[in-house]
Amino acid sequence: MTAAFPHAQSVDGFVGGLIIGIAAAVMLLALGRIAGVSGLTARATGIATGGASRSVAIAFVLGLPLGSLLTAQIAGGTAVHYPPSPVLLIIAGLLVGFGTRLGSGCTSGHGVCGLSRLSRRSMFATMLFVASGFVTVAAMRLGGLL
C-alpha cells in the first residue's frame, strides 16, 4: 500500500517552520523557557513538577489546537491522515510519552530549540530519534505494514 503523496511542500514547509521558530523565540526571549512540547505537556498535566509555571504550560498547550483550528478555518480545511488502527496509535503514544520523558525532550525541545543552541545533548538525541524513526518506518515497510 503506497500512500499517494502530493509533492513535498518546500515553501510552505519553510514558512511554517519560520512561524514555529518565531513561536519558540517568543517563549525563550519573553518567558525564558524552552518551547519543548513534551516537557510543557507534562508540566500542564501535573505529570512533571517544577520548571515552567503551570499556567504558562497550560496556556501554551491550549494554544496549539487553537492555532491549528484557526489556520484550517482560514485555509478552508486541512487534510490529516491518521493511522486508522487505534492499536498502532496507542503503541506509538506510549512510546512517545515514555521516550520523550526519559530522553528529556522531543522534536521541538531537542530538535528546534536544542539544535539551534548547538546543545550537545540535543544533537545526540535528535540524531538518535531521527535514525530510530528511519529504521522503524523501514522495518514497517519491509514487514508489509505500510
Binding site: A3, F5, Q9, D12, G13, G16, G17, L18, I19, I20, G21, I22, A23, A24, A25, L31, G32, R33, I34, V37, T41, S53, V56, A59, F60, L62, G63, L64, P65, G67, S68, L70, T71, V80, H81, Y82, L88, I90, A92, G93, L94, L95, V96, G97, F98, G99, L102, G103, T107, V112, C113, L115, S116, A125, F129, V130, A131, S132, V137, L146
Partner: protein
C-alpha cells in the same frame, strides 16, 4: 496572567506553523521517515525554517540578563550524554515512526482529528506516567 497570555499566543503561533507546514498530518511526517518508500522532504524544510529565528533568539538571549516578561531564564544546563537520553530518544523515535506523530502535532491535531489525536495523546500521557514511575537510579 500576562505570562499566560504570552504563552497562549506562542502556543497558537506554534500550532499555526505546524499546520501551515503540513506537519499536523502524520502521513507527511512518516513520509519523511520513509526512506524506502516515497520520501517526502518537507520536514527538513520545516526544521531549517524553525532553526533560523531560534538561532537568532539564542544570540539575543546571551545578551539579556533576564527575559522580557519573566524574572529569570530557566534553561537546561546539563551537557552529559547518558543512557537515559539515548534510550529515551531511541524509544521516542520508534513511536514517532509508528504513528507519524510527536507531541506538538498531536496536540495541534486535537482540533482537526479529535479521535485519532485523542487516542494518541491519552496513550502518550500514560507513557509519561509510566516513565515517572521508574525508579530514579544514579
Amino acid at each position: 496572567m500576562k505570562r499566560a497570555a504570552i504563552a497562549l499566543l506562542a502556543g497558537c503561533l506554534f500550532g499555526i506553523g505546524l499546520t501551515w507546514s503540513g506537519m499536523v498530518d502524520p502521513q507527511r511526517v512518516r513520509g519523511f521517515l520513509d526512506i524506502l518508500g516515497k520520501w517526502d522532504s518537507t520536514l527538513a524544510f520545516v526544521m531549517a525554517g524553525a532553526i533560523v529565528p531560534m538561532a537568532l533568539a539564542w544570540v539575543i538571549q546571551k545578551r539579556l540578563r533576564k527575559p522580557f516578561a519573566d524574572a529569570h531564564f530557566s534553561l537546561p544546563d546539563t551537557t552529559k550524554l547518558d543512557g537515559r537520553l539515548a534510550i529515551g530518544a531511541i524509544l521516542f523515535g520508534i513511536g514517532w515512526g509508528i504513528g507519524g506523530l510527536c507531541p506538538g502535532p498531536a496536540l495541534s491535531g486535537l482540533s482537526l482529528a479529535p479521535k485519532g489525536a485523542g487516542i494518541f495523546i491519552a496513550a502518550m500521557l500514560a507513557g509519561m506516567l509510566l516513565e515517572r514511575a521508574l525508579p530514579r537510579g544514579n
